[in-house]
Amino acid sequence: MTVQRTTPSRPATTRPRSKLELDQRVVRHARALARKAGAPVVKLAKTHTTVSVERAVLRLAGLAGADPDGIPWVNRLVDAVAADCGLQHGVALPVWDALLRDAGDDLLALAQKSAAGAVSFRIPEGKDAARAAKTATAAVNIGLKQIDRNRAQRDKLVRRLGDPPKPWIYLIVATGDIYEDIPQAQAAAREGADVIAVIRSTGQSLLDYVPEGATREGYAGTYATQENFRLMRAALDEVSVELGRYVRLTNYASGLCMPEIAALAGLERLDMMLNDSMYGILFRDINPIRTFVDQRFSRQVHARAGIIINTGEDNYLTTADAIEAAHTVTVSQLLNEFFAKEAGLEDWQLGLGHAFEINPAVPDSFRLELAHAMLARELFPDAPLKWMPPTKHMTGDIFGGYLLDGFFNLAGALTGQGILLVGMMTEAVVTPWLSDRDLALQNVRYVFNAAGRLHEDFLPRHDGFIVQRGHQVLGEAIELLQAIVDDGLLDAIGDGTFGLMKRPADRGKGLDGVVEQAKGYVNPATDLLEGTQR
């Protein structure tokens, strides 16, 4: 007898006909509200700069390395400029003005000289200003061209080596030592990972500088440095060739150095970056304005680099209840989408986050998860979507945990998620072991092989539990968006709307690094990225 046996498939992530029967007018209304809520913040971002944005400009212009104490030259130089004439005009004018005044034959020399106290900066006027801006732009453009070459190179490799089918299997390495990370990452890729994420050391996101060089001493993660990026990307290029599929590399932007890390990611051909417009605010108590300014710049760089961003909605559900807060995830996704598009990112670059974090003891928990996941899928049909596994309700019961991860995988298959973070049965116990990853991948394989196309048979009953729940969450999201539009996003954040964290706009880390732009502020990077000049 013959069964229609076809090769195992992962579910189609291409636009499915609406299973939730969403009313497109309602969806458009939700997007319009997100735009309204986000607009004032964009205005803020356009009229402010931060120390990290300015340092990113210097990095794009080629300034790297650190002083003997390990303080990056970009920090030294920006601090020096700030001390002499403030940052309200940006670093570009005073720095290139100084170079033109022969204060040094290149940025490094200038930085060293200024560190020795042998340079004083000024805000050039008229012609001087014009010349400074012109040379600065040329210098920054060299960095952007490097980013363009990397993007082209990625496209070439993907074409040559082939692109894995969706969902991309996303695995984490986190030894703290780049030289342990590398073999583990390569092993993970061989085991089937399509995307490798190197988790950062705890605390890095609160450093107001980017460490230098190859590092071996992170806690529960490895420092994000340009050299570590380079080493890991090279190692993955190696296995990519071996495996005949392009293995992507992910790291984390959000934090105090979002703009700089985004620049480094582009310069070292990273492929995805965790980049959320609010994560730093909510989960790292970083000043809201600092974050909004930084995220905009970093996303402009990602857009240019062809990098896919991953947003952090999943994190909300680790602190708030996944049922009560379901609509806050939707709201955040809509805001992240708005900010991303405004910064120039395209749909295919939006790895909007959500997670399987409903308490498994809740009746109908799986049906609720399906409803939530389906809503995200249908609201953002062209975005890859980042589907995060259960973490909060994982316990030392590794068997129950393995089962829960299986149902997470099933929900992913039934709702066509694009980027599948692989859940680990030891989530509540240790950072993943080699065998945990292997078992986790077998779990994924079984589910996708056995039920990967169940979504073809699965049509939620018209007006059934799942459809109703989908509509309910969208409705609540719209109410909340309306409230945010009324109070303003900053106040909403101050009131603990997201992840139950209260973050007032006048507090939080890195506030002192925020500067309002003066008239005549120049940022050649933004100008180039926004295409106001090439």
């Binding site: 061989r190 085991e191 529960a220 989960f283 790292r284 108590d285 602190t319 509540a428 065998s435 292997d438």
Partner: protein
């Protein structure tokens, strides 16, 4: 069975005394018969004999994962088990408030934080926030307790400073990340800083907590008390009152 009868027990598979145990681990060996033998050898060394290696899975060329089943010969002597028994009475919020009123005649001040690079606040919040944990309200709910929650990634000097300013009776610190023993390291550093900053015997009560702590290590780490996974706010409140007010309570 009475406790004494089963002072000595053995693992139980499906009959009393069968000693059955399940094991899994990875060996850095390519998968072959020899590797399976090596797995059996390890199981034997752990006291499992005979060891049934029921599953062996190659993970790349250099590693193999194993699952083993079998009886272990070890006996467990429950009388030799040392546990930190709760030495204080459990109080309701009401009783706690009353005890403080009586014993202290002022609100009891608690400063809490997640120190070092640890940003896992859910645990400490579960103890401090009104919301609480496992159906018990957190310390903020106690009218006689003043709670200062400094949140995540607080530096030890800041913590000491704040404790002094607030005249803290107790400092509550959370440590969840344990990789490279970060939690032990940070706890020791914190304890040292307080002993440093305060005249002998005058420092606030130091309490740490987190899911991976060994509650018996308090002395070793230089703190007064450690709370492990599943701690409830009530336990913490009751302990604080017992430790701070002792007999007076």
């Amino acid at each position: 069975m009475s406790e004494s009868e089963k002072r000595i027990v053995r693992p139980y598979g499906d009959t009393t005394g069968d000693g059955m145990v399940q094991l899994s681990f990875t060996l850095p060996l390519s998968h072959d018969k020899r590797a399976e033998g090596a797995a059996a050898q390890l199981a034997n060394k752990m006291g499992m004999d005979p060891a049934m290696v029921v599953h062996a899975k190659a993970m790349g060329p250099d590693f193999t994962f194993f699952v083993a089943y079998g009886p272990v010969h070890h006996l467990v002597d429950t009388s030799k088990v040392v546990v930190l028994e709760r030495e204080y009475p459990m109080l309701t919020a009401k009783e706690a408030n009353l005890a403080i009123k009586r014993g202290l005649r002022r609100p009891l001040v608690v400063v809490g934080a997640c120190i070092g690079s640890d940003a896992h606040t859910v645990g400490i919040d579960a103890i401090l926030n009104i919301k609480g944990f496992a159906g018990e309200k957190g310390l903020e709910y106690y009218t006689e307790i003043k709670v200062v929650n400094m949140g995540a990634q607080v530096l030890v000097p800041e913590l000491v400073e704040r404790a002094r300013v607030e005249k803290a009776d107790a400092v509550l610190v959370s440590q969840v990340v344990t990789q490279r023993d970060a939690h032990l390291y940070n706890t020791r550093e914190m304890a040292a800083a307080f002993n440093e900053a305060y005249p002998r015997g005058s420092r606030p009560l130091l309490v740490v907590g987190g899911p991976r702590f060994d509650e018996l290590m308090a002395a070793e780490l230089g703190v007064d008390r450690i709370f492990g996974k599943g701690t409830t706010p009530g336990e913490v409140a009751s302990y604080l009152i017992h430790a701070l007010l002792g007999a007076k309570a």
